[in-house]
Each structure stands twice: as structure tokens, then as C-alpha cells.
Symmetry: D4
Subunit: 248 residues, 8 copies
């Protein structure tokens, strides 16, 4: 907001073009009125350069299909996470080219292909039981326009397995590390690369894993620098961040 | 010591400017030393391209100074975090050019200037009480070779203050968001930029903030995509990750 | 039954329109009944000026219908929360005008219309997945005699959506803010209005949301003054408090 | 500075008692200043109708005094919470009329008296050990322009003590209930009044009170409708909300 | 153990009646050998004067019936807690007089009637949703030989309901208080009686009740003296303790 | 409340002895007016038959002495818990016969000797580090008029030590078990006696004892029936309950 | 890594046999290149001398059978934990000699008999409801080649039952203690033997057992030395450790 | 005192070198003494074959010295953990040969040398800040009669440091792994050895390490088999278990 706005208002008061009560009311909302909404109210896709994402949990297949339809009308690419097969059935009726990843529980509709940068995102996972998060991350990274390489079942209990893939890990532009139980993989990988590492704790485990809490705390306390963390099982979020970095 | 140093050495070998025996002697004294003698990880600097970091907590001034001395012998830049004034006193006797940031509790010794990339890191903080984490992040980012812009006291309770700095935030290459209490700033900023956001929960608050737990959980559950999180009060870790991204 | 009913009764006594014996009989059957016979708190309606509320969780349809029948005999308005469709079936047989809100899981029976004050309650929610709490709050506020305006899907990740509704929010007499995940909306709204804000954390989220804990802690630590909080998913409680304030 | 000041200014403009240029100059120095220069939120006072609040924790006496000085220049009333005696000493040098509440740890400077509404706020506390929160709430309510009545040491273990003050409680416009340990007082009071109840859990207790957690959870789960809750020990927040309600 | 045992052993050594190796072995287990097993190894029923209790959770109907059969052979009275209807079916085939309490989920078989003391146990519960714990406590107290009086639905939100039953509460020899949500009833009752109060937190509630945690912490922090607490939903344990006290 | 009260009120309305407005107001407070306050508002000492207790934590020596003075004026016996030596100094000036237990941090003033029942309370503690809770319980039990026997340092890691005192434990009328760390002693003792057992978890321990949480949970989950639990370190509460039982 | 490797590299640079860029890249991975992978990359069975283990949770019968088939091709013994009957059905088709333990939910295939040492492992459990963990431990210990003795239902509430089996416990080479609820058995057994004790907390219990948390904390805080702990319900892990010790 | 002492005594009895009365008197003064007089568990040493341990926390120097004196009278070796320098001062006056480990905070008095087995215990620690636990474990293992090898500062963030010591780790008979922060070292080491691994989480860390909770949970959820865990910072307990195993 600049002086002109207030000056105009004061003149209007002086000239009886506006009542004092109304002028007062206008001033109360001033600090927001002067926000350049052009700066912030663009459609998310334009602003962030990305497809539209629908979080499928707690939504009926019908609701998901309806939201998808609206977005398709705008020619958006679409990513639906946490989607079950019923949702896929409903979406396929309006977008036959929709693809479903059973393990990752994602539906993707690609209307406009994004040319990925040459560099790739590496997704490293401790065990096969973490695959659901791996696939969610994978599909997210793909629809956002990225090359992706996956390395699964390289948990630290057999650390030679990890070293066998050092090349893939060290040559990535950004690395996603996915692990449940004690989540130690994030620290080990973090110590091996000079690239950003995004860690995804999973809810794989039982007892004192407390639904992924153990892995989460472990990753937050990583002794390796350069590791940041997303929510438990949040493969989508990790890939989203990784994609932003890969497109920088 | 960084890649350039080794590269230069290799070139000297190639050009016969140095004998293989002498080159070997020079190299032996650094990254490999840790295998034969101590375990100070000189090699980390080469592998990860960064100066050496000393975590000052629970270390006496003497211990800190001794470790610093060894690293200085290798011509490393040095960052000491969580350092008190006594530690600074001890370090200054061996490195008079060492600088102390009282608020951030960091000591930095810059022996070799790293030319920063043109892009900058933005550090956004909710309140003046978060300054200790801001300064730790700032000093870390600087010693790692980055331009940094700070915006402090823009908590969401007066959101127009944040909007007044939209330009700085949106033009950064990577954004660090620092907030205590409910940590809502991370989500709001995350929704405004298309750059990687690294969130630092702080222990600022009382009662049900549980030492930063409230802000930490808040940030992990951010409804804005592209936000990853580091440990409570870990300004260093956020800046380390941000610097890696800024140097990509 | 409310104050008016008793007042009318007292006037009838005064005017000899009813014998003291009959008036006594009428009165005995309500607020005092709970002391002599059952413990259904009819008196609450008089004391607090509100309809009777039945918490439907862990109650069979039959139990709910029986309690409702007793209250209907006293001509009370009735609100049943956390009710499933079976409960609605049972209630409809005794009160065909009963209405069921599928999303909010409420049954309402309005026997006596309460004239609402002119001011209104605003219910602001972060996402469509919070609708179950929104509808519970909405039905509660309506049956308690209030005008209500709802604004849904204005989470802070796209904050321009919120600003588009500033008028509705700032002109309300009291504002209910409903959000899951990190619950940041409460702080942002709290900073925009000079009216009481009642925050409802929801269990929407996963992983480190810990069933709504993240949003709850976030709201309790709100950096915005004037925000008070109710239990997770407690749309009813928020609307109840809001209604009291709106009727002041 | 409050609405009246601006209203007066607008009237002066209208009546040609002040030139537009001068009015503009006067206005520029307050709410808008925060956008151009500092970030002290002068506008908040206008927008929310309240004095400026400084959270004293983790701030040095000097810092507090400096912030207070800036606010005094704008003729704001000032409330400083969590302030120690050193802070009071520093503030008194710039505002000799400043008052210190030792128990509540508040400093108040009243430059402009706010005429309170006729209705009052009741502050009800379980024990004398909760006094620190009582006094913080009391001073907050006073500086915000309210009549306040305090009832202390009426914990539920001797419930007749509470009943002895039913009149004060039931005739208030809004009731603040402050209790530590098991926090049961909130539920009992909530069942006795038809006014909004704002509950403040305190950290009074030991062992399984976990720093106020027990009282907090207790109050959030109150079986009495119409009770909302603020952070542990947050007497300020409760009074702030109560004042908003009392001024409606 | 007394000296005689050791003396005898030493003599045996001296007389070569035992080898040194064997004597040494005997001595190693001495401190336990000398326990008067008569003191501790009586059948539980004799030692504690009570029937046998079977915890039915995680046991199949067959397993329960088999254990019951063994105990019936010894003419024990039997109490089976957390039993479903299938378990009841299986037990009835071996003990047709077995009784099932659907709400309390208990099976009782009374082979030998215990004459109860004249004093009675009062069971006070906050709401009808706590009935499952009430009935478990009731059946336990009955089979253990006690008179019991129940007062249900007297939660503190309508505290006059509680006062209407003061006589029953104050004349009991021991009082069991059962409540979920915030569990405030225990403190209020604890302040009204001069008898032992045993509090049972229940898992009734949602959100921040965290499965009964809120009520549990509340009761442990009761400001009323003379209140002790058992596990969440442990109606059995409370009645067991109460019965011991009632039989003193 | 009985019919007569209402009948009288109705007659007064009829005879114009009271306005309808006033009658209405009276009826709103009826459920409380009819409480027999004689039943609940006796002085605590009379009602419960016990001395007055002052919780010394967070109170200054002066405050404690003042409260003590008031109670002494009524000839009460006095127990002050969590008192430091300064408090004792202040109390001794007004009651020279006051006694201080350094370990238990209690001050006791006995003005009127209570003749204890013949039966005794046994206090059993796991280790010498639990002595502070033992002594608090001991002094409480003594001032409340009880014989007490103490058995200390009989933790389950050397269970023969416990058996050496079986007589004292089994002959008590009520047993208090005090233990920190894993609190296993409560279960073992609970299995050995047919008397009420009140368990006191202590904060003795480190690491995963989480300030007594481990012992608390352990005791609440005791596999031995007849064990009830009080707050962590609450020797006072256990002795208070035990005394009530011992005086039955 | 030794000097020769570097020397050779430097010579290659000098002789233009390798580019500087490639030499630099090689040096960056040096610290790992020189790892003697023979030391760490053996097949797990060879390295640890044990059969292959498949964690059956979250795996389909097909996946389990496929993995088993691959391992059988290598003639490994196989242990599948957390397996349901469907998995057993699938495994039996490829290995008819496979055995299923219904309670322990394990499938074992023994292709090569391991001769057990003479000493045995004792498995001690508090209650019959802990049997699922007992059997998992038992099957694990057997397939790993151990003699095992089981003692079940010796919880501390009836401690004489435990003493009746002192011989079995004290003569074992290593003792596994399995208990839910308060887990006190670990401390009592730990105090009775001079052998390693491995404690397994189980999720048996309800309410404040918090899924085994109470037993876990209890065991970690054991006052008996020589007790170490594994995850909740982790019978497999305890037996694995015990087997390693038994084979030393 | 150990078995040899008793054996010698028995031989003396057999050979008439001592009268039965005198032998009895000698024996009475030790393992049985605890039953009659004090409760210091002399018998433990015989039963478990180990010196006496005093937990120094919360004990005054005087108390520690007194207990030590009694034990010295029995010629026991003594280990005092969590001891400060004052305690050492007091102990040295009665046992001048006592040794103090400043970092480990242990006092040791070795009256009788235990010949260690040939195999050794390896203590592996992540960082220098874990040294306090390392030294506590070291002193414990030494006084219990063991060879010990220490490897410190081999955290997983620079995993090549760990590999440099593979020989020491893999040749130990039992391995103690000590780590704070995320505790990942336990899983990595667990995957490298076929020996029992005992993990010690330390409280080293900040923020979401929650006093060692993160490392504790991490170690309990280790994906490597054969890892068992002791309490946070419990170097003593780990070494005690390790020593038992090393002496098998």
C-alpha cells in the first residue's frame, strides 16, 4: 500500500464523498487490500509449474472422479495419491488413459508431457516392505517430469548391498531415502553423498516402532548433515521436494 | 582442502611440477590419515566438498581448540556450532582471525574463500526469539559459500508483514523457514514459493509446545507440498542442506 | 422446554388459568424429575437455555430412540451427535420430522424454533476432508438458533483463497476454524480478525499427525492471540461455545 | 493508538482542522510504518482494537525497553508478559508510571484509558499455587479495558467453596477457569453457567501432571459443553479471548 | 533359613556324608531353599480368600472352558472377565448355572456362596457409556461376596445429579468412581467422602482422550486426597481392591 | 429439592408475593439451592476426621507460616509436605514444637494426639534412594494416627531380602509399596498378601524411566489383583488412603 | 587403502593413462574402494552361520513362496516369521516338509540339521497369553540349532510358581524372559541367575499398557543387572541373540 | 567373597582346621547376614559370581563411603557408578587404592584380581561425546574381569571409519555399541558380526532426540538380528551383560 491510497481516502473524507464510519472501516482492512494478489493468487499449476494433486484418502470414488473431471477441463496433468481400485474404476470412465499403480496406490493422468531434466532422482529403500512408499514417490516424480532410478532392499543390516549401488546413489542430483524400522539407512546414505538427501520414514515395523515414530525420530536426529525429513509414509512429499530441486 | 586443491596437485603431477613421491606425501596427510591414525574425517571435505564442522556441545574449550588445530593444519575452513565464549577464547589463540556470532553461538575460521553461486538462500523467521537458529543457519550458509538474505519477525499472526517481503522469498533459490510455537509459517511460505523449503522448528514457546515438538509436528504435517524438515533448533542442518541445493 | 415455557406457566398460575396442583404436576415432570427418578438432565435446558444433546457414540439405535422419546415428551429440541444411519432409522419412527446430516452424522429434531440473533457464526475449514467436523458444527449451531456462514477449502497452502473470503470472516461475531494436518489456519485467521476464534483440530492427516495431535498442539501454541481450542474433531463443542457467545 | 484516534483524525480532516498532508504524515508513522521500515505491528492495535503486547521471555531488559520505547512513541498502551524485575527496572526509566505485578510477572503502561463495558470477566482458580496465571490474566484483562472479579482457591476437592461464589460466577459475561493438577474445575464450572468458559491449565503439580499435560487433556475432554481451552499457563491468552467476548 | 540348616551341612561335610562339591552347590541355592513355601505357595483361593479369576481376552472359548473345568473340579467359584458370548456358550455346557453379563462381559459361576459383610461398596459412574466398566466391577464385587449400590450418569457437568445421591455415596464403606473423558468425577467424589476412593478411568471419549489417558492422568493428579487409581477400564481391579477393603 | 419448595413458590406467584421474573430466577438455581450444605460444607477436618494439610511446593516460607498460623488458631494438627528448611525455620517461630523430617521434607505439628488403631500400615520400599517417598508416607501416616512399620531396600533383584520380611508384610492391615525404576516390587508384594496394596511409583531412575513414568505404567498394569496406584512420588497420598483404610 | 593404489593412480596421471577428471572421480570414492568386501559381502548364512529368515508381515503368500523358493535353491534352512495359514499353504506346495506353528505363526523348513550345543536356552513366560511370543522364540531357537526348555505361566503375582522351576532357569546357558502387562518377571529372573537374560516385552495387556510400552519401559529399567531387551513381541530377535550366545 | 572362599572354608571344616561353630560364625556374617541385620546383598556376589555394585546417584559421599566400608570388610571388589569427585574423596580415605574415572564417573576398588578369559569385549562408540558411557562400560568390564578393546568416533555418517576397524569388531566375543542421536551404528555393526551385540543408546543429541528416546527406539527396531538393548546411558548394564557372556 502506498501513500496515494490513503491520500485519496482522506480527500474523500474531506469532500464528504465517504462517511467517516466507512473510511474507518476501509482503513481497518488496509494492510491486506494492498497485497498484489497477482503475486499470490495464480492457479497453483502456473505458480508452481506442476500438475494438480488430489489426496484420495477419505474421499469416495465419485468425489475423486468429479474433482478430476474439473481439473481435466483445465487440461491439467493429474496425480491422485492414496487411491484404491474403486477410485481408479471411477476415474477411468472419464479418463481412459489413467494409469493405476497398485502398490503405490496412485492414479496418474498425463495430458501434457513435461520434458524432464537430464539429471535423475535416486530412490533408495531399505526393504521390500517399503515398496508402497517407493512407488508413491516414483509415480509422483514421474508425473512431475523426472528421470528416476530405484534401488530397493539395501537396508543397513547387509551394508555391502548398499555399496554395490554406490554409483547410482552418488551420481543422482537428489536422493530420496525410504526406510522403516530404525531408519538407519538415511544416515548411512547421507554420509556417502554430496547431494541433498530427503528421508521418508515408513510405518513398516511393529511394537516400539510406534507406527513409524522410531524411524522418524531417527532420521530427524541423523548424524549425517544434509538430510531433511518428510512425514511418515509421505513418498509423495519427498518426491515433490526432490522434483523441485531436480528442476532448479 | 577441496577438489580444486587435489585437481591442482594432479595437474602438477601430470606436468612434472611435482614428483610422485612428494605428491603422495602431500595426499597421505589428509583424507587417508583418518584410516591410519586418528578418525578426524578430512576426507569428508573432499568427498562432500565442504569445510569441517565441529559440534561444540559437551566439548571443553581445550578439546575444541585441539580439534580445530588439527584441521587448520590441513588448511580447512572451520565451522564450530553450539560454541560458548570460552571456546571462542581458546580458538582465537590458535586462529586470531576466528569470528564469533554471539546469538548463533558459532565460531568460523575462513582460510580459503569459496566463491558463492549467484543465487541466494533466504532465511525467513517468525519472531525475534528465533534469532539464535537464524544466526546459526546464517553463519553455516556463509562459511559454506552462499549469499544469504534474512527476513525476521514475519510470523503468521500478522501475515501482511510476510507479504511485504514476497519478492525476497520468491526470488531465492532455496528457502529456510524458522519458527517455534505452532510453526505455521512453514506452511504459509510453502504455499507461496516454487522453490525447495527447508523448515526448522525451534524450541521457542512454553507449555504444550513441549520443547519444540508442536512446531516439529506442525511442519511435518504441512499441507503445503515441497516442505522438508530438520531437527528442532537445527539451523546448521537446514543451512547445510540449503547450501548443497544452492551449489547444484 | 425453555425459560419461555416456564414463564408462561407462572403467568398462568398468576392469572388462575391453571391450578397450583396442575402446575406443580407439569413442573415435576421436568427439571426435577432427574432428582427423583431418572437422571436425564431436563433442567439443563432451562439452566443453560439450550436444547438437549445426546452423544450417540457407543449407544444402540434403540437406546438413542428411547432417550429421544423421553426428551420429546418434554417438548425439547434435540441434537444427536455421532449418530449412524441405523440410529436415524430408529429415531424417525418416533419423530418423522427428524433430519439426518450424513456427513456431520447428526440427527436434529426441532420442535420449537429459536429465533437467532442477527449476527452470524462463521465456520472456516482448511479442506474438504474436514467437512465431517464442519457439518457437526453447522448442525449444532443451527439447532441452537444461529445464522451460520461456511467457508471451506481455504487452507494456508493457497492463502489467496482465504483472502477471497475476508469479508465473511471479519464480519462474523465469532469464528470457528477447523483444520487437520498442521492446523496452521487457526493462527492465520486469528491474526486477521478482532473476534473470538474457536479452533477445532481434526484427525485429518496421517503419520506424524498422530490422530489430530499435531493440529491440536499447533492450535494451542498459536502465535495469534484470541484463539481458544476444543478437543480433536469436536465440531459440536466449538459450535456450542460459539452459540453462547453469539447469544450474549 | 486506537480507532478513536483515527476517527478523531478523520473528523479533523473533514472539519479542515488539519491539512491532508499533515494527516497523512501522522498516519504514515503508524500502521504502515511496519511495511516500509520495521516490523513492529502498530496496525494490529487498530485492526484488533487493542494495546500492544510484548512477550518478555528470552528478551533482555534492554531489548524490552527499546521495543517499549518505540510503542510509547505511538501512544500505545503496553502489556509486557513474562517479565522479570530487571525488565521492570529498565522499563521504568522510560515510563515511570509503569506498574509491575510480581506474581503475574506483567508490566503495564496505560497511556490512554479504555472505558470498560459494564459486564465483567470472572477469573476462577483452583488453588493459591495457580495465582501466577490468575494475575497474568487479571492484568491482561484490566489493560484491555475490563471489569474483573477473582475467585481463588475453590478447587473441586472442597466443592462447597465453589458454591459459595455461584453468584459471581453465574453473573459474569465470560468466565476464565484456571487449574492445575487434574483441572477438574473447568468441567464443574462449565456445568454451572450458561456463559462462555475459557479454561487455562497450569503447570501446577508434579509427577504424572507432566508439566500441565494432565490438566490440559482433562480440560480438552471436558464433559461440560461450552468450554474452550488455551495453552498451559497461558493466562494472557485466556484474558485476551475473554476481553474480545466482553467487548462484543 | 536358620543356622541349623547350615550347621547340619557343615557337620555332613566334616563327617564325609557329603562331598565338598555337593555342599557348595547346596549353599548356592540356600537363600531360596529356606523359604517357608507354606507361606507363599498355597492355592491362591486359600491365600487370598477369593474365587479364581480367568482373564478371557485372547483366549478361545475352548481354552476358557478347559481352564474353568479344572477350577470347578476344585470347587472354586469362578469369575471370567472380558468374555464374549461364544465363551459363555462353551462354559454353559460344563456349568449350566453360569451367568453372563452382556454389558460387563463377565461370566460367573458361584458354587459356594460367600456371606457378604453388612457394609456395601458404592459404584459411581459419570455416564451411561461407562456402563461396561460398571458392570465388570459390579459382577466382580458380587462374586467376591459384597453388597453393592450403583449410581450411574452423575457426571460433573450436571453436578446437582451427584448431590442427589450423597447419602448412598457417603454411607458406603468404600467407593469406586468410574469415569472417562476428563475423569473429574473422582476428584469431586474424593472431596465429599471420608472413605477410600478407587478411581477407574475409562476409554470413553475421543480425540485427545487418547484411549483413556486423559482420565487416567486426571485421576492420578486428583487434588482430593484418598483417591487411588487402577488401570484404564479395569473395573475388575477396582472391585477386587474394594472387596479386600470391605472384608477387612 | 422437594415439591414443597416449588409449591410455596407457585403460591407466592399466585398471591403476587413474588414477581414472575424473580420466581424464574429462583427456579434457575433450584438444583443447587436444595443441596444440604451441612452435608458438604463442614470444615474438612471435621468431615474427614483428619488434620489440615499444606502443600509446600511453590509457597514461600512466609506464606506457609501464615497459613499454618491460621490453622493453629483452630487447634488443628498440621502436616506440611514438600517443605524446605527455610519453611521449617519460619514455622518453628510460631510453633516451636514443629518437627522437620529432612529426607521426607515434611513439617508436622501435633496439637491433639490421635489414638491409632491397633493394626498397622506397612511401608515397603525397593531401594534406599526411594527413602524420600518413604519418609513422606511415614510422617503422613503418623500424624494421621497410625502405627507404621517400614521395610526398605528389598527390591526384586534380590528377592530373598523381601521374603525375610514376609511376616511384617502379611500381618499389616494395608501395605504401601514404594519403588522407582521398573516398579516390579508392587506386583510381587501384591501376589503375596491378601490386604489392600497402594503402590507409589517414584522418580528414581534415569533414561527410559522418564521421571517415574516407567514405574507408574508398570504398577498400573500389575498382574497382581488388589493393587491401586497414586501419583509419582506421592508418598503423602498413599499414606492418606492407607490411613483411611486403617481407620475403617 | 594403501599407498600403492594412490601411487599407481598418480603414475597413470603422469603417463596420461587416465584423465585428471577421471582420477579425481576415482579418488572421491577411494575410502570405500579399499574396503575388503570379502569381509562383509558374504552371503548372510555363511557370514553368520545361520538359516535365512523371511519376515512374513505385509507379504502375500505368493511373495513369500517365491522368496522361499529362491532360498531353497541355495539349500538354506528357512524360517518365516509372522506367517498366516495361507502363506503356509503356498509354502507347502514348494516344500512339503515345511512345518507351521499356529500359535507362533512361524513356518520352518529344515534342509540341513544343525547339531545343537549341549547347553540349552530357557524360555520363561509370565502367562499363557504370552504364548505367541514364546512359540516364535521356540521355533527360532530350534531352527538355529539349540536345545530349548520352556516354562510358562510363572508370572510374579504367584511367585512360588517361579521358584518351582528354579533348576531349569539357573542351569540354562542363556535365559529368555517373556512378559506383558508390567513385565516384572524380567527383574525377578534377572536377580536369580548368573546367566545372560534377554527380555521380551509383549503387547499383552490393555489400557495403560499402551501396546506393550509399559512392559518395555519396565524391562529397560530393570533393577537387576544382566538384563537386555528386544522389541515388543520380538520373540524371534530374543531367540536369535540367545542362539548366538549359546553357540559361542 | 567368592566360591573359592566358601570352598576353602568347607575344606577347613572337613580337615578339622576350623570348628563348626567358628565356620558357622564366619558364614553367618556374609550371605545370611543380610537376612538378620542389614540388607546389603553380600550373597549376590556368590550367587552371581561378581563384585558388589553401588549406584552413586542421589547418595551423599558419606553414604557411599559407609556402604563401601561394609563391603570392603567382606573383601569384595567394588564398583561405584555415577560417582562424583566428592564421593571419590570420601572413598579414598577408606580405600587409598581406589581409582576414579573422571569421564565415566566410576570408582573402582580391586581387592582380588579376577583372571579374565582370553576373549575380549569390543566397545564401539559413534562419537567422542558418547565417551561418558564408553568409560562407564569400560570400567565395569574391567573390574568384572575382562579384556576390553575400545573403538570410538566411528559413527555411520563416515562409514569408512568403521570399516577400518572391522577386525577388532569381528574378532570380539561380544560387542557393545554405544551411540546417541539416531543410534544407527547398532544396526550397521549388527549386520557385520556374528556375535552378540548389546546396544547402549545415549542421551547425546538435542531437540527431537528427546533425551535419548530417538536412539533407544532406533536400536529396539534394529533391522539387524542379534541386537539387544539396555537403558539410555546404561554403559554399566551393557558391560555387565557382556561380561556374563564373555565368562560363559
Amino acid at each position: 500500500m502506498n501513500e496515494q491510497t490513503i491520500e485519496k481516502l482522506l480527500k474523500a473524507v474531506k469532500n464528504d464523498d465517504i462517511s467517516i464510519a466507512n473510511a474507518l472501516k476501509k482503513m481497518k482492512s488496509l494492510p491486506f487490500e494492498d497485497i498484489d494478489f497477482a503475486k499470490i493468487d495464480h492457479h497453483r499449476q502456473i505458480r508452481l509449474g506442476y500438475p494438480e494433486v488430489i489426496y484420495g484418502e477419505r474421499k469416495t470414488p465419485d468425489q475423486i472422479a468429479q474433482i478430476a473431471q474439473k481439473l481435466l477441463d483445465k487440461k491439467s496433468n493429474i496425480l491422485i495419491t492414496r487411491a484404491n481400485e474403486q477410485a481408479y474404476g471411477a476415474v477411468k470412465t472419464i479418463a481412459p488413459e489413467a494409469k493405476y499403480n497398485v502398490i503405490g496406490r496412485t492414479i496418474t493422468i498425463e495430458r501434457e508431457h513435461i520434458v524432464p531434466p537430464k539429471s535423475y532422482i535416486a530412490i533408495i529403500a531399505a526393504g521390500t516392505s517399503d515398496l508402497y512408499a517407493v512407488e508413491e514417490a516414483y509415480e509422483t516424480a514421474k508425473i512431475l517430469g523426472n528421470h528416476v532410478k530405484k534401488v530397493v532392499d539395501v537396508g543397513v543390516a547387509g551394508i555391502h548391498r548398499l555399496f554395490a549401488h554406490l554409483d547410482i546413489i552418488q551420481n543422482a542430483r537428489v536422493v530420496i531415502v525410504i526406510a522403516g524400522m530404525e531408519g538407519a539407512l538415511a544416515s548411512v546414505v547421507g554420509g556417502l553423498v554430496d547431494k541433498p538427501v530427503i528421508a521418508v520414514p515408513t510405518s513398516v515395523g511393529y511394537g516400539a516402532s510406534f507406527g513409524g515414530m522410531a524411524a522418524l525420530l531417527s532420521m530427524l536426529n541423523s548424524c549425517a548433515s544434509g538430510v531433511s525429513v518428510v512425514n511418515i509414509d509421505n513418498g509423495f512429499g519427498a518426491a515433490y521436494s526432490a522434483s523441485i530441486i531436480n528442476h532448479l
